[in-house]
Amino acid sequence: MPKPILLLSQVNKTFDSQDYQVKAIDDMSFAVKTGKVTGLIGPDGAGKTTLMRLACGILTPDSGDFEVMGIDVTKEPLQVQSQIGYMPQRFGLYEDLTVQENLDLYADLQNVAKDKRQARYDELMHMTGMSPFTGRLAGKLSGGMKQKLGLACALIRSPKLLLLDEATVGVDPVSRRELWEIVYHQVHEQGMSVLLSTAYLDEAERCDEVVLLHEGKLIMQGNPKEFSQTVNGRVFQVTVENSKHRPLQQKLSQNPAVLDALIEGKGVRLVMNEKGLPTAENLLPDRVNANKKIKIKAVTPRFEDAFIARLKNKEKSKEYSIEKMEISGSADDEVIRVEDLTRKFGDFTAVDKINFHVKRGEIFGLLGANGAGKSTAFRMLCGLLPVSSGKVAVAGMDLRVATASARGKIGYMAQKFSLYTDLSVKQNLKFFSSAYGLRKKAQQDRIDWALDIFELEEYQDTNAGNLPLGYKQRLSFAAALMHKPEILFLDEPTSGVDPLARREFWQRTNALAEMGVTILVTTHFMDEANYCDRLVIMSKGKILASGTPLDMKNLARTESQPDPSMEDAFIYLIQNKEQPDDSE
């Protein structure tokens, strides 16, 4: 048995925040095998990034021993640093240097011999498919290409150990697959060891081994497939004929025997508390009498099911209902209408003649990788950016010229946390409610409602900037809802948020949609498309396909792939529908 590449024993690391201490790594001991791909999995604040930084010697543990490749990294950080490749979360590419100049820099820093360079460059550029772009400035590359260049720089000297911190976040599925191929190629060819962290649970299944972290503690370590099997016999799919999936999911998630209910295709995916096939009577007592066909079938558990089963605590299964709202109009009203919408920045077309419409009470998704044009389209819809050509109508008006009262019908949650970081939670809510004209009792009631529904009471006097990420997102959401908008614009609301918080977010969003609120949402998480009634998939400013989630998956359904995921559908669309573009 070879020596472990990483060996931790009783490692502790604490950070001092303004008013409290955060135990980022809490008495952690484990070993990572040499020559394998090991995934660090866990929600935000689990300690993944801290662990990475400790491993490469740019943070020092408070106590405990941390050995990397048999070297004590606390004592000899330079020794370790000259043998590893590291790609931090925001990879430090020099955007004002070309691809070649970035490679040259890292080759110089890693002391790659001059005569061996060209061969290595050729190999890396070929592997990443970037050979035609070596003269391009790194800042002008697409998101996926930047990550591939980052990886190439980290691999410039065939490191013994490669550390990747959330290397695939926000990257389109095609590039993600390519990144994984490169990593495994290196592992097989060079015998390299890899430690990576990821926010995508489906990526955990691609690792040889996973290390599950939560709040600085090690939850479990092992093979991901074995881990998935821990919930064998507890995962089911429920479909009810002629029943809408959203109320069905709400109903099921309130059932005490159900741990987790997730909308998937036409039905709902369930993780039960106990093993054994549940009966229709147990699950949906009031529906059985309604004479509807209820189908329950067991399905193969995924990593995410086991992850949720391990981390979700069911005791606060709060009903995320949001108070009743009076919204007039019928479900056939076209609330949002977009015709030939185009936006150009100089000679670059960010959004190219897109068309869609959204009906009242729908959740409508704009899907695509970073840089696909989602946010640009979104900003034009909200009236934040003038259109180059085409038409936009939201509730029958163009928001750029609409009156303040008309704007009062719209709620907007920006991609970046856009609340005042040095105001407390309560002060933020107060400000946003008064900005929409709420006063006195009505205002106080609304603030109390927000604190209650979004479970922010505990943090009401904390400055927004010091909130954990999941809570920041809740606060942004609450602020967007203070004036009871009829139409909600949500721009990447779940970016960087862990699976548990994402579930919570979608439950609230579903409840709003049930109330008749129209919701337009952008996301780069392909699996979140399942929550949408209808969606469009965008790439390079164009709409590749539009329809229901099921329509999309049907596109990619083949004999060899009978049950494609949304990601498969996306990759199918990119590979078959996208026009070849010689610039990339």
Partner: protein
């Protein structure tokens, strides 16, 4: 093995230098700071700011005009310092003063000539707008000068011996034309050097932190010393480049004499440049954010260099406490060196004592920077 180590080290350093060079070339802002700013600042100070009193608007209130008052008025008229206007009553003149049309009044009462001829006391009353006390003092002095020389002439013409105990004779050294531009330009060069040195380095290192490139650099065999050298060398060259531009402008455009040795000035500038660069590095290591680093660099180096270096405001007339603070401002020593080198020559005691002060600062800064810059994110 040692050979390998040195070659690896020099390769890393060369890599950093090459990278920094590309960034400087592609980022127009650092080029602008280094080569456009000196020109703009020199022209602004060379032409815009003048500490000389010239054409001061002064009112002469003559209650009863005659030959004597006329000759006194003529003296003001002929002086290049004044631009007189005339009033027939003190009330009119006071009104003009209140309206800020004039800065001072010379009041000749109706009995002025009469008393003077009778050999009695003949007072001239002077009223000065004291809002700007500095300007008021200068105006006062000039008025006295004009009045006194007139009195001498007047007495001589009439064969009267004036019993003045002291005769003032002014002689100005080093800047004999009393042209403030000659005095300001070397000071502006010192301020520019402070700006280039601290602002530029503060921004570029903070940029690495902000864009996350610092984290990636740290996990390479690059040592902190190499990293710092990689930052210092290119900006030292850039800073010295703008130094030469400034000196060339000073000598050939503004006609400031360079009486000292050129090479002594290069040495003195190099020393000061290093101090400035290290201050910039220290700021960026601590702040790690471009905006804060930029603000801090301006507040901690540019403003003090501007206000407390003695290039614009005389240190000796500052309160003792503020005078104490000026000893901590590196630009103070460099301003003294530059002014001496330009206007006086190689006055070794001045140059060496100030160089010593800068060397002490350099030493302290090197200690601070190396203790603060460890390869860690904390």
């Amino acid at each position: 093995m040692t050979v390998n180590k040195t070659s690896a080290r020099s390769r890393r350093l060369m890599g950093m230098l090459r990278k920094e060079m590309w960034q400087i070339i592609r980022d127009p802002s650092s080029i602008a700071i280094a080569f456009v700013m000196p020109v703009v600042l020199l022209f602004m100070f060379g032409y815009g700011v003048s500490l000389d009193a010239k054409n001061i608007p002064v009112g002469i209130a003559v209650e009863k005009a005659d030959i004597i008052t006329q000759s006194l008025s003529d003296s003001f008229e002929q002086s290049e310092f004044f631009k007189p206007s005339y009033y027939h009553s003190i009330q009119q003149a006071q009104l003009a003063l209140e309206e800020r049309k004039i800065d001072g009044i010379v009041w000749l009462r109706s009995n002025f000539s009469q008393n003077l001829q009778a050999g009695k006391q003949a007072p001239i009353e002077i009223i000065i707008n004291g809002v700007d006390s500095n300007q008021a003092n200068i105006t006062m002095g000039y008025i006295q000068g004009v009045w006194q020389s007139w009195l001498t002439l007047f007495s001589n013409a009439r064969g009267i011996q004036l019993n003045l105990p002291v005769v003032l004779e002014q002689r100005v050294w080093f800047n004999s034309a009393l042209n403030s531009r000659l005095f300001l330009v070397p000071g502006v060069i010192a301020v520019i050097m402070t700006m280039i040195g601290s602002l530029l380095t503060a921004m570029v290192v903070a940029r690495e932190w902000e864009r996350g490139t610092m984290e990636a650099l740290m996990v390479t065999p690059l040592s902190m010393k190499e990293m710092l050298a990689g930052k210092l060398i290119p900006y030292f060259i850039l800073g010295m480049g703008s130094m030469f531009i400034s000196v060339a402008l000073a000598v050939w455009w503004f006609g400031v004499p360079l009486r000292g040795s050129f090479w002594v000035m290069v040495l003195a500038s190099s020393l000061f440049m290093m101090v400035s660069l290290l201050i910039g590095l220290l700021i960026s290591i601590i702040s790690k954010n471009q905006f804060v680093a930029g603000q801090t660099a301006i507040a901690a180096s540019f403003l003090p260099a501007f206000l407390l270096s003695g290039f614009l405001f005389d240190i000796n007339s500052m309160p003792a406490f503020i005078q104490g603070i000026t000893y901590l401002i590196p630009a103070r020593y460099f301003v003294a060196q530059l002014q001496t080198l330009f206007l006086a020559g190689n006055v070794w005691p001045v140059i060496l004592s100030n160089a010593f002060a800068l060397l002490v600062m350099l030493f302290v800064l090197v200690l601070l920077v190396s203790s603060k810059s460890r390869k860690t994110l904390e």
